[in-house]
């Protein structure tokens, strides 16, 4: 529990590398965590070869949700869009380097749900996308 707020998470929360919006973009999606009202939007640019060339997130949330969004954006840039579909809860927890209880897991997984819903072109970001 004590390493929940490890240096990496505080750093990424306070000085995110991928915060912002992309205009124009190829994929955009946003959704909220009903528990707390936190919102995340994700924008992607994808080239003709199906590679993610740029990624950005915006919105507001706790350190866990913002740091995981920032790390997630970093992990998808330069990779095939197809790879995004295979990202899971475990990948996010590995990036954060922490274990989380059921409530905070929702914070950590919000950006992945939003990203996947955008990639799949869905109407809303459901929990089944990250289970």
């Amino acid at each position: 529990m004590d390493d929940l707020y490890r240096e990496l998470i505080i750093d990424r929360y306070q000085n995110p590398l991928y915060r912002g919006t992309l205009d124009p973009h190829d994929i955009t999606f946003e959704d909220a965590n009903p528990l707390c009202g936190d919102e995340i939007r994700v924008d992607l640019r994808v080239n003709d070869q199906g590679m993610v060339t740029e990624a950005a997130f915006s919105g507001h949330g706790c350190a866990i949700s913002q740091a995981s969004a920032d790390l997630l954006m970093e992990s998808v840039v330069g990779k095939p869009l197809e790879n995004v579909k295979h990202l899971s809860k475990e990948d996010i927890l590995e990036m954060l380097g922490i274990q989380l209880g059921p409530v905070r897991l929702k914070c950590a997984l919000l950006s992945l749900k939003v990203l996947k819903a955008g990639v799949y072109g869905l109407g809303e970001a459901g929990d089944d996308l990250v289970e």
């Binding site: 004590d2 929940l4 505080i10 707390c36 009202g37 936190d38 949330g61 706790c62 350190a63 905070r104």
Partner: protein, 405 residues
């Protein structure tokens, strides 16, 4: 409040080895004293049976205990008759009951209802649902920058001829204690019926429905030392008599044929199906417990704690507390810390065993008005101490250290 803490078993547990619990989330739900736990345990061990039917000893005992609980609850809020106290699942169900029965039977398209900007979702959404179904107009009393209701605007809205005024007696976020008696008097002058959401007031203040003059008043057992799953709706008898039943089923009928039914008399008309019997008995035990301590004493204790808490919290750089000054509020302190999200505040405090709430506390419109995504909320009850306020404040300094602000 000497000796109180020993009555609440959970307060002596460690959250993790060597870390005691500081429970500051009683606005969400209160802890339960051993007297309540034992009353429910005793019922299940000795008297468990269904009520209002069955001619055997256990059924007699169960029925007597269930109805005895109703007498206790009715006396606790000063109702003039036990028939005016209906057991529901909670405050939310009580408000929905009024909206779905009184509202559907007596409100027509174009009728106006007055609510406030500080309502819990449970006193907003039932009316939104009814308004959408019936074409009603919802007006809202604004919250002033000091966290009070704008009573000038309330008077103006009353001039528009509302049929119902529904408001919270005590805000679950700002802690504001609204001038209920005065607001009810004005509403009645304007010819409106009044529903009071008393989920936060009945547990913490002496509340007398006859003195207030409320037409309907709703509250929950679990916020006043009783179990979850049971609450109460008080309603004036003539209103309840005129209302159609809520849920249909057993117990709420006098007689039934294949194609029709005759509703039972009050209060059973509104209590379909086997109710939460053990919980009602626990609710009665909670009322006994609170009366034993004394509601005046509880209110005075909470005023002492909130006064100290506001003083200590406001001296922390970067901390903003929302709501009015201590003399206008109950034991609730919603706050933010610059640059730190409410979830993170809660999480770090939890490391030290301090339990507070983070989020919008089921009052999203109020948070929108305050331009906040989320707040942290510490709330106090009869078992809390000034030392626990100190531990909260120490915890907040630790949060700030971790976030380097």
């Amino acid at each position: 409040m000497v000796g109180i803490r020993g009555d609440f078993p959970v307060l002596s547990r460690e959250i993790r080895p060597g870390v005691g619990l500081v429970y500051l989330d009683s606005t969400a739900t209160s802890q339960k004293p051993i007297q309540v736990l034992e009353a429910m345990d005793r019922f299940y061990r000795r008297s468990n049976a269904n009520i209002h039917r069955g001619i055997h000893q256990l059924a007699e005992e169960a029925t007597a205990q269930y109805e005895d609980a109703r007498h206790k609850v009715a006396a606790f809020i000063g109702a003039s008759s036990v028939r005016e106290v209906i057991f529901t699942r909670n405050t939310t169900e009580a408000i929905n009951l009024v909206a779905q029965t009184w509202g559907r039977a007596f409100l027509n398209p174009g009728d106006r209802l007055i609510l406030t900007e500080m309502e819990h979702h449970s006193n907003l959404v039932p009316w939104q649902m009814l308004a959408a179904e019936r074409g009603l107009i919802l007006d809202f009393i604004p919250v002033t920058p000091h966290g009070l209701l704008d009573l000038e605007e309330y008077r103006r809205l009353l001039g528009l001829g509302p049929r119902l005024v529904a408001f919270t007696h005590m805000s679950n976020v700002l802690g504001t204690i609204n001038p209920a008696a005065e607001m009810i008097r004005l509403a009645h002058q304007a010819g409106a019926v009044v529903l009071v959401d008393a989920a936060q007031s009945v547990p913490h203040l002496p509340v007398e429905v006859t003195t207030l003059g409320a037409d309907f008043l709703a509250f929950s057992s679990h916020k006043m030392c009783g179990p979850t799953g049971i609450g109460a709706l008080y309603g004036k008898r003539d209103l309840l008599e005129a209302m159609p039943p809520f849920l249909g089923g057993g117990d709420m009928i006098k007689r039934v044929s294949l194609t029709s039914f005759t509703p039972n008399e009050l209060p059973y008309k509104f209590e379909a199906g086997t109710p939460a019997i053990a919980e009602a008995i626990g609710f009665g035990a909670a009322v006994d417990y609170l009366q034993g301590v004394g509601m005046e004493a509880i209110a005075a204790h909470e005023t002492e704690i909130i006064t100290y808490a506001l003083e200590r919290l406001e001296e922390i750089p970067g901390v903003t507390v929302y709501g009015p000054a201590a003399e206008h509020k109950g034991g609730i302190a919603a706050f933010t810390i610059n640059g730190i999200h409410a979830h993170d505040v809660s999480q770090i405090l939890d490391m030290d065993g301090i339990a507070i709430r983070a989020g919008h506390h089921c009052a999203m419109p109020l948070h929108t008005k305050l331009d906040l995504a989320a707040t942290s909320r510490a709330s106090f009850y009869l078992y809390n101490t000034l030392q626990e306020v100190d531990r909260l404040v120490d915890g907040i300094y630790k949060v700030k250290t971790i976030f380097r602000v």
